[in-house]
């Protein structure tokens, strides 16, 4: 109910690195921008597969309820996640989906952005494993809730030296592709 409260949800299948994407988003806000942020997740018993979500709430004021209630921006990397987790996407919210994997979109008045996130990671960046960072770059671009610089700093502070360039490329590619796809 605080007007500055912004809710982001990363959803997909377990093992896609969405929890890490949420953590990095939270770090960008809480450490690099001095905002309040809460990240939480829910997942099933499976270590891999199954629908999984990671939520980040960002605000200028202390955050009470740590879970999303009315989602401002939703990422769905699988159809199952899109079906399961799009119910509380708010009117006028942002819906980012992987265009290869999510064919059926929920009804509602959303800003829908579609591009092949996983394939972009695989073909343009070079490694499927950084799909989460591609998605993170895209969410940063679309939500505008943290700056591009803060988010990139948060990404790079998390990765070992050898993977800095790969992750930088993943982030930038996601960021740019999202803006192109939104038009």
């Amino acid at each position: 109910m605080s007007c500055s409260r912004y809710e982001i949800r990363f959803s997909g299948a377990g093992g896609q690195g969405l929890i890490l994407a949420g953590i990095i988003m939270g770090e960008a806000a809480a450490i690099f921008e001095g905002k309040q942020a809460v990240q939480s997740q829910s997942y099933g018993p499976e270590a891999r597969g199954g629908a999984s979500k990671s939520e980040v709430i960002i605000s200028d004021e202390p955050i009470d309820f740590p879970k999303a209630t009315s989602v401002d921006a939703l990422l769905a990397l699988t159809q199952q996640a899109c079906d399961k987790y799009s119910k509380d996407l708010k009117e006028g919210g942002i819906l980012l989906v992987d265009s290869d994997l999510v064919k059926k979109l929920p009804k509602g008045n959303f800003t829908v952005v579609r591009f092949p996130i996983i394939n972009t990671a695989k073909n343009e960046v070079g490694r499927t494993i950084v799909a989460n960072i591609v998605a993170l770059g895209a969410m940063v671009a679309l939500s505008g809730i943290v700056s591009r610089e803060s988010a990139l700093k948060a990404v790079l502070s998390r990765v070992p030296e050898a993977f800095v360039e790969l992750n930088r490329k993943a982030f930038e590619t996601g960021y740019n592709r999202a803006l192109e796809a939104r038009g």
């Binding site: 109910m1 939480s40 099933g44 009470d64």
Partner: protein, 377 residues
């Protein structure tokens, strides 16, 4: 100088709080959703010259913690519902022998295996009544990552000060969520260390009440030789069945905590001065409640929040006082009605008390609480 800031998970903050308090021994057994506490301790303890051991089961972990604490080392274990059940046997042992230690119980759904990744608040009664026999209990229920750090420090302080086991029980949401945490500098938070005996080893008795209700505990290996047993014992630590001694010792153990409730009991009052509808909540659900109270205020309803931080001893006096002026009390909790009974006991019928209960693995949302506030106003 700017303080060190991090974006941390509750369980990680808990482990770092333990280290801040001077904890140098951890024994545990893996269990969701508490395992991160063990993982951080496994990584950090060797760096500070402490010891970590993963035991063969929960019972053994609790046993090892008591053994280590008896050598004078601040000791910790972490678990969740089913593991907490297994620990009750040796938790009772720590109670009767008055060995300081801290138990983290990250609450998940139950009974039994229940919902390992789902949040719950249904172990609060187990924290007091889980082990057989009569004993006092101290149980802290933090609501944020920062508070999980500071309450873990306080748990060690209370354990050492009152010579007793202390449980810290975040619900799964608090244990697993990540938030910004500002690390206190060394010395910023008080750290209480164990009182060493002032008498010679020859005249030392482990339960010598001439030092009051909390006799000093010597450390094994420090030159003091004494006996520790789970049997009812006399002041010298040896078993006795003498009725007067057994009665007096049990009463002393309960009294030492009862007499200290003002020092131990902590809570947060939010917009309670003129509140007609009082929400009493703890852990992550207190955060839902605060959100709902703010919404109610915006709608012109005089609502307020009483947030329990120390669950045991229960804040009887404070809740009784609230009942004098409130028109209605709401108790939302992630169980099928536990705190609500304690609240009803305290208010003694002066005001209607209603509960909102969920055990489906979902938190109670601000909307549910707000709707109830509107109903009972």
């Amino acid at each position: 100088m700017s303080k060190k800031v991090a974006f941390l998970q509750g369980n990680e903050a808990c482990a770092l709080g333990a280290l801040y308090a001077g904890c140098r021994f951890f024994a545990g057994y893996p269990i969701t959703p508490s395992t991160e506490v063990a993982e951080v301790m496994a990584k950090e303890l060797p760096k500070v010259g402490g010891a970590f051991i993963q035991m063969e089961d929960e019972i053994a972990a609790m046993a090892a913690v008591i053994g280590a604490s008896l050598t004078g080392i601040k000791s910790l274990t972490a678990t969740s519902g089913p593991g907490f059940s297994l620990k009750q046997e040796n938790l009772g042992y720590a109670c009767i022998t008055e060995v300081p230690c801290v138990i983290i119980n990250v609450m998940r759904g139950g009974p039994s295996t229940g919902m390992p990744t789902g949040p719950s608040q249904s172990d609060v009664m187990q924290a007091k009544w889980g082990t057989h026999g009569d004993h006092p209990a101290i149980c802290l229920v933090p609501a944020s990552v920062q508070e999980l750090f500071t309450e873990t420090v306080r748990a060690f302080n209370l354990a050492e000060k009152y010579r007793t086991p202390v449980t810290v029980m975040p619900d799964e949401i608090v244990g697993h969520m990540r938030e910004r945490i500002v690390f206190p500098e060394p010395g910023e938070l008080p750290v209480i260390n164990r009182t060493a005996p002032s008498v010679s080893p020859q005249s030392y008795q482990p339960y010598d009440t001439s030092f009051g209700d909390i006799p000093p505990l010597a450390a094994f290996g420090s030159g003091y030789r004494f006996h520790v047993t789970g049997l009812n014992k006399a002041q010298d630590g040896f078993p006795t069945t003498r009725a007067d001694i057994v009665q007096a010792e049990e009463e002393r153990q309960v009294r030492k905590i009862e007499n200290a409730v003002d020092d131990i009991v902590t809570y947060e009052e939010y917009l309670l001065d003129d509140a007609e509808v009082v929400v009493i909540a703890f852990g992550s659900i207190a955060r839902s409640a605060r959100y709902a109270v703010n919404a109610a205020r915006k709608n012109g309803i005089k609502a307020g929040l009483f947030r329990i931080i120390t669950y045991w001893p229960f804040p009887d006096r404070q809740i009784r006082a609230l009942a004098e002026r409130a028109k209605a009390v709401i108790v939302p909790e992630m169980n099928l009605g536990m705190t609500v009974h304690e609240v009803r006991r305290c208010v003694e019928g002066r005001v209607p008390v209603s509960g909102i209960f969920r055990v489906d693995g979902e938190p109670i949302s601000p909307n549910e609480i707000f709707a109830r506030i509107q109903e009972v106003r």
